[in-house]
Amino acid sequence: MYTQTAIPSREQVERTLPDAGRRVKGPYAVFECWQEIPCDPCHQACNRGAVKAFNDINHLPAVDHEQCNGCARCVSRCPGLAVFAIDETYSDGEALIKLPYEYVPLPSAGQEVQALDRSGQPVGKGRVVKVQQDKESKTPVVWLAVGKKLVHEVRNIGVGGQG
């Protein structure tokens, strides 16, 4: 159970994804935010109005995936490090995951790293495409290319050292 293990169920993850039609149109953000806590910086972070204003600061984010372009500003701004941006159309064989990563050493573009799932287990390899810096939040966002099958599994990387 998520409240005991902090690992979401498959069903929980799928509920968070936009519909299949939207997913093949291009990059989108996934909010793995399943508990009501007082927090709203994702709304402030979004330039496109895709994260609706909060009527109650405790509500879960309401996302309009038609407005979202997967830019990953919210990925670096979320205090809970709970947002990821996904591009299932990245290439024929690969999908792109933009994930928040606050460990050192940071990987560099081109580096092959371990692709870890939500329990920290290695499930394959990934290739770092880019490390995006955000001056305000100081949370780097790693762009990771993985096999398409792994795109909803991989949520962390092992660079050597932790992970």
Binding site: P8, Q35, C39, N156
Partner: protein, 358 residues
């Protein structure tokens, strides 16, 4: 004897917010801080804060601490006393302070206690071995002094402090072998828990520490599952090798000076134990004595900062600088209400409801 209008005891998030709000209202403020810098626990909080923009959400505690400390240090209405420990509060309304080798008597027109909280201990065999730390000490070593506290840690407590300190330990290159939590579910924010879980840290809910191992220092820990009655279940023991057992098992309000001052004290478990009774302006039963932050009830730093502003403005009004108090108060009460209105605020709401009935 030193004189000031408002003495703020404790220069953490609540005290700093209080001092700045009162100073802005025109009050002469003296902050009495026992540490060698302002900021309290904020100086160790390298993670981004929750809340809304008004409470600096998305920004890191260390950044907020630096800004608030600078604002206090450059405010001409604020005097800051560092490495100054408040020792006692006397019947004639005098606060005694030890600073270096000096004993100072401070007389203020109003007092605001923002003394925070202390960590709870956990009873288990060998808990006096070197290597058994409080989470606050681990954070101080790592994030204030740049000292790696251990190689492998077992964290006890999956509240926000246990989860955040686990994350910070991993960022410092320390292995976190496990997080052990006696409650049946994770108490802290699940996004924090998910963050450490995807870095490979197992979380054992419904488990406790059975005993620590080691002769001179900690060399490991045995944990065990708990049954419905809270007793350990035979056959569920797991031995984990580690050189540090880090305790994050809760906080108690540091309310001794409020007992000294004769404030009416009430015991409310949801607020962390004994707290001073107070009204909506955070004024205790002793007129002119205000409280804010963890000493008033264990809560998040974002609420502590809002409480600090409210109590600071209320103290300013008490001292005759309250022309705008009513409108500002309404705004701050609404902010606190919003922060506490969700499921995560249930405990504090229960505690405050109990307090209101006393």
């Amino acid at each position: 004897m030193r004189q000031t209008e408002l003495a703020v005891i404790g220069g953490g998030p609540a005290g700093l917010a209080a001092a700045l709000a009162a100073a802005e209202a025109g009050v002469r403020v003296t902050i009495v801080e026992q540490d060698d810098r302002l900021g309290g626990q904020l100086v160790k909080q390298t993670h981004k804060f929750f809340g809304s923009e008004k409470q600096s959400a998305g920004r890191r505690g260390i950044v907020i601490a630096a800004e608030q400390a600078r604002a206090a240090a450059t405010n001409k209405n604020i005097d800051v006393m560092l490495e100054a420990a408040a020792l006692g509060y006397y019947d004639d309304g005098v606060l005694t302070v030890e600073q270096g080798d000096r004993f100072i008597k401070l007389k203020a027109g109003s007092y605001l206690f923002a003394t925070g909280a202390s960590e709870k201990m956990l009873a288990f065999p060998n808990n006096d071995l070197p290597g058994v730390y409080g989470a606050g000490a681990v954070q101080t070593l790592m994030n204030v002094h740049g000292v790696k506290p251990a190689d492998t840690v077992v964290m006890v407590g999956a509240g926000n402090i246990g989860l955040i300190v686990s994350y910070q330990l991993m960022q410092a290159g320390v292995k976190v072998a496990a997080i052990v939590e006696a409650a049946p579910t994770i108490g802290g924010y699940l996004v924090h828990a998910a963050k450490v879980r995807r870095a490979g840290v197992p979380i054992f809910t419904g488990h406790t520490v059975k005993e620590a191992h080691g002769t001179d220092v900690v060399s490991g820990v045995t944990i065990a599952a708990l049954d419905q009655t809270g007793a350990t279940l035979a056959g569920t023991e797991k031995m984990i090798t580690c050189d540090c057992i880090c305790l994050a098992v809760g906080l108690s309000p540091l309310a001794e000076l409020l007992w000294h001052a004769g404030c009416r004290m009430v015991h409310i478990p949801e607020l962390g134990g004994h707290v001073a009774w107070r009204n909506e302006n955070l004024e205790t039963s002793v007129p002119g004595i205000f409280i804010a932050g963890d000493v008033a009830g264990i809560e998040e730093a974002s609420s502590a900062m809002v409480e600090g502003r409210l109590a600071g403005l209320a103290a300013a009004a008490y001292l005759g600088h309250g022309s705008q108090f009513d409108s500002l108060k309404a705004e701050l009460v609404a902010e606190l209400g919003a922060l506490r209105s969700g499921p995560a605020g249930a405990k504090i709401r229960q505690g405050l409801a109990a307090l209101a009935g006393m």
